[in-house]
Subunit: 295 residues, 4 copies
């Protein structure tokens, strides 16, 4: 496919690389241009502006940090909605708000363009290994047309609805489930640990029996061994996702007491100097409360 | 092995059946004697008293409803500690408090008997299928000696420590993790459901990607389809386990905010008439709070 | 003083009335012009635009519903910051965010104007009776110059800092304390009520002993008697204030678990049809959870 | 009146002193006999046993630390229920559980004795100054007969029901309201403090306006100035009262999310070394979470 790719962070670089490697014709754009070089070396075309990244493309993918960045790149002056060809598709793969997904749906429709939300589940190493899970929502024909791009980036694509925002809501709720798992492990480890049971041994029992899911092994090990840096997914990003959750809960009017607990945990982690830590560091707060550690 | 088995409820009956079927010599006892018949038919010997159930046994297993029942049967007048042979073993497989495990450890030691805590993970159908996970703690030699009995009841035995109470703490923390999963799914479903995403479709994405664990499939389906009766594990038992958790947290001084949230959920479920429902029915409360249902 | 007054809602109308009655020269403006008539009858001058309301004024007061309204009226095209005389003062008396207070401080400074935040404590009947408590922050000389206006509207003015946002933070934290009182009463009433003690009798004991504050009497009576309509302060406004609290908590990085609980309560009340009720209706949710009522 | 008084702790000593001073004929008993001397000096008769403290008395008052102590003294071998004259009254003034109040009601009825619950509100200095608030429940005639004793100890007696347990529930719910006030102040102070507003100045505004209650002044000052020792009411006692609350909530099936939050706060305070501090020290935890202090 003729693709544009905007946003070459840790995730985006790997995804764009996989697209190029799979034989797609990819134009790449990034705010700080130094990220372009490795991709250009592999065969991508560099773009100096959003307009160049969109010119002549069947679809342009955005993989950016947050609502503000996507809103700016897509809906700002000279943004995607104002330069993309009619009938071409904007695929938003970032984790952004339901509200923004709705605004993008409307703006691209007005401009005669197509729009998909297709956020992903997976940490950077999964992006590199082409193992992402992609959750896509929007017009089924458009999803089908973009499938070759998805296949180059992920191991599987799930269609979750015809309204693009459905994919964002799914992604937000999925990240909530991960954060809830971190909190659960943190409290369980604090209890058994203070009671004389080694958290790693406890984790082994749990992941060998009822919870044989990689998420439990991955985060359980990080928390049990207190390996919170370097961050695979930094605490401020985790906090951002919990805020997207609570914002969705407020606009849909769904109270989420566990979501609120997670938000309090992240605010506290950041207040106490956790900016650089992995988001799983909220899993150490229960142990701190139990007097097991004081840093 | 020459075994006694006390407590023929839904779980205990299946476990005792599997012991008999595996060729062990089993004497069975139950408060209400009508539960004995099916086991006697299979070859078990009926006991009319705790003393008869303990006479001449290498080990006697208890699988009872709660602390009160175990305390009574084991430590009361004519209880196991007063009638079991010296050097024989009491294996407590019920979900009971850390405090009771300590009292049993001490009482049996004083009587020259051995004691293991060996609670299990698994719902009734897993007990019937000999698929329980057994978490054992106590003297390693004693665990080894009892392994034939464990092998007849479960698919795997985990040793978690030399102090029996360690197994109870592990079981309590494990059940907390299941209850936390139920709450997590309940809140996530309420959010996506009110936002127009089918909870079952959302569950499919989650269990196909990050959460490929039977617990998520089992409870997710129950919650998504609101199948809370008949109860596989009744709400009052779930509440009992959360109270064991908070009691352990209080005595060890480990604050558990998510545990507290779960306790509030169970108290509410029971206050609103949920006595007969499966414990996963706390997973519907988030939807009620969101105005999605009012029964 | 030569005053402009913008925003003639339930509170604003009473406050403007008291200014006119006290002899001040007041120009009034409101989005929907029909609110002007009663004030014009008393001697106020009607303004057709924000510019007219600001022309020639020493100070212009805003008393509007929320951040959006104040931001629009003060910082939008043709807004106060663009039309008010240099050295004249904008007094923002609405309950708005700390962030907006900072933006207003900066914008008015750039325009050579003065700015005070002076939110109030008091329900509509207190506004009518000139019994408001005013919490003012900003340049002490400017507060002193505006004191005659404050004296016409309130029973007492508190200076809380030289940074205008300090007054907004105080107001937000004060409203949190009221909402926390409502929740506290709601839970206490549910407990004693289900235990056979009449909530009104319990309230009498509490307000006669440890809690002899009007807030407890007022809200305690509303909750005990379930008189949630007509609303003195509607639930969506209460929710707005809790969101201002959590927003301040997030930007200052102060986790507020009780604030989060209150937010969940308001989201639930609104999800279940409480739009028209007084905000004290969150005080009935504990009783509902206890199975005492189902409406 | 001819009175027995059992339990000469900080509160009990002052209360017994006031009874003697008011001219009552008082026999005193305490586990550790050295507490008797000051009262004997004032004219009280020392008792060496519970039986002596009850002999020939119209009423015997207990003011003890917790359920265990009251249960032992009243219902144990040689306890009040077994030695008090028929038709004499046991007045339980300790803060104990609803369940124990029911057991006492039943036991004394069986023995042909009378029973009142009459817990008090007030810190030690109020007890010394005869300023306690007494909340009494039980047979109105019995309350009337004991009024002279109450008048010697408190400034006012409230009758809250004919079932003694009603007074205990009222006391427990009242202490919950105080603890909730402490948490509310703690969170509010953390927020305004981190935002640059002096907590003492904020407290002054609040107690001068909406919250003119001594509780707010007393605890607000303790928290703002971090004066948590010496303890007027020690953290373990505060925790005990929150556990009585949650026990009542569980047995009555009333979920109390704010009560649960308070329990988590106390468990944490005690886990982190707060045994000796005043219970208001839970009010500093919000500030710690905000990164304002680390001790």
């Amino acid at each position: 496919m003729k693709l544009g790719f905007i946003g070459l962070g840790q995730m985006g670089s790997s995804m764009a690389t996989n697209l190029v490697t799979a034989g797609h014709d990819v134009t790449v754009f990034n705010r700080s241009a130094e990220k372009l070089a490795p991709l250009v070396k592999l065969g991508a075309k560099p773009a100096a502006t959003v307009a160049e990244a969109c010119a002549d493309r069947e679809a342009v993918i955005t993989m950016l940090a947050d609502d503000r960045a996507v809103r700016d790149i897509a809906l700002g002056t000279g943004g995607i909605a104002s330069v993309l060809n009619p009938r071409a598709t904007h695929i938003s793969m970032s984790t952004v708000s339901v509200e923004l997904a709705r605004d993008l749906t409307e703006a691209h429709a007005r401009a005669g363009q197509k729009f998909l939300s297709a956020p992903v589940f997976g940490r950077p190493e999964m992006a590199a290994a082409r193992k992402l899970f992609i959750v896509a929502a929007g017009d089924p024909d458009v999803i089908r047309a973009c499938q070759p791009a998805f296949d180059a980036m992920g191991q599987k694509t799930f269609e979750i609805g015809t309204e693009p925002a459905a994919a964002n809501l799914t992604k937000i709720a999925g990240n909530f489930m991960i954060a809830a798992t971190i909190e659960t492990l943190g409290e369980a480890f604090a209890l058994v640990g203070k009671g004389g049971v080694d958290p790693s041994a406890f984790l082994h029992v749990m992941t060998s029996t009822l919870f044989p899911a990689p998420i439990y092994r991955t985060y359980g090990t990080l928390i049990a061994e207190r390996k919170f840096s370097p961050a695979g997914f930094a605490a401020p990003l985790g906090h951002k996702d919990v805020r997207l959750l609570l914002a969705a809960g407020e606009s849909l009017r769904v109270p989420m007491p566990l979501g609120s607990l997670l938000n309090d945990r992240f605010v506290r982690l950041l207040a106490q100097g956790g900016e650089q830590l992995d988001w799983s560091a909220i899993g150490r707060l229960a142990a701190e409360d139990a007097g097991l550690t004081r840093e």
